[in-house]
């Protein structure tokens, strides 16, 4: 099943895309595993996800942790720690 990924701030700049549709292998079950899989997709992804600790994620617009399951997700967002206000 395809999954929509969206990127913000420097994650977006490093990946070089605002969003994309992907089809991860069935073995990728969690957010952390998805990050690991994405990092192997090329130089720009390796750069964007070089330090998974500073990557925040949201599944269908809710903050999630690295060990959250991605099953059933329609949209997953990756971004740096928030700096609003």
């Amino acid at each position: 099943m395809t999954l929509k990924l969206v990127y913000f701030a420097w994650v977006r700049e490093r990946v070089g895309k605002v969003e994309e549709e992907i089809l991860p292998p069935a073995s990728v079950a969690t957010v952390a595993e998805l990050i690991g899989w994405l990092a192997g997709r090329g130089e720009e992804y390796a750069y964007a996800f070089e330090n998974p600790k500073v990557i925040r994620a949201a599944i269908d617009r809710n903050h999630v942790r690295p060990d959250s399951a991605i099953a059933g997700a329609k949209e997953i967002a990756f971004f740096p720690p928030m700096t609003g206000g």
Binding site: R61, F79, M82
Partner: protein
């Protein structure tokens, strides 16, 4: 409750007036206005660009306003967060809280600002001396936001 994300500037006084108009149960109104400063960590800046996650930002803020209303007896809350490019001196964010008494109004305004600084999906990019850089999250902001979950745990 009013939650708005917008490019345009806001009018803090008009927003506060909307909350209190025609009511006599409100005894305290707190407004917080966040303004773009002319320097960041000592270096002069030319402008700030705020990126946000459309759809998520509005829903997340609304959820936190609901949370604030569950914690404190609020009679009105308005949150407006701008996005796009802003120059020093321009408004960035507005939080207005109204209650019968000052304690709730102050606490809720601080709670919402701590939240907006750390958990709302916004990212600040600074333009300084021709270079653009993303603002790093501050540990002090995280600590400020954390105190609310601690006090909640203690109350449970």
């Amino acid at each position: 409750m009013t939650v708005r994300l917008q490019r345009e500037d806001f009018d803090a006084a008009a927003e506060a007036a909307k909350l209190t108009h025609g009511r006599t149960d409100i005894g305290a109104v707190v407004t917080f206005t966040g303004i773009c400063r002319g320097s960041e960590s000592g270096d002069p800046i030319k402008a700030l660009t705020l990126e946000h996650y459309p759809g998520m930002a509005e829903a997340e803020i609304a959820r936190h306003v609901d949370d604030a209303k569950a914690r404190w007896p609020l009679l009105g809350v308005t949150v407006i967060h701008r996005y796009g490019r802003m120059q020093p001196g321009e408004n960035i964010v507005l939080v207005v809280t109204a209650s019968s008494h000052r304690e709730a109004a102050f606490a809720a305004a601080e709670f919402l600002m701590d939240y907006l600084k750390t958990r709302a999906p916004f990212w600040k990019q600074v333009e300084a001396a021709g270079e653009k850089s993303w603002v790093a999250a501050k540990d002090t902001d995280d600590a400020a936001a954390d105190r609310w979950s601690k006090s909640r745990d203690a109350a449970e």
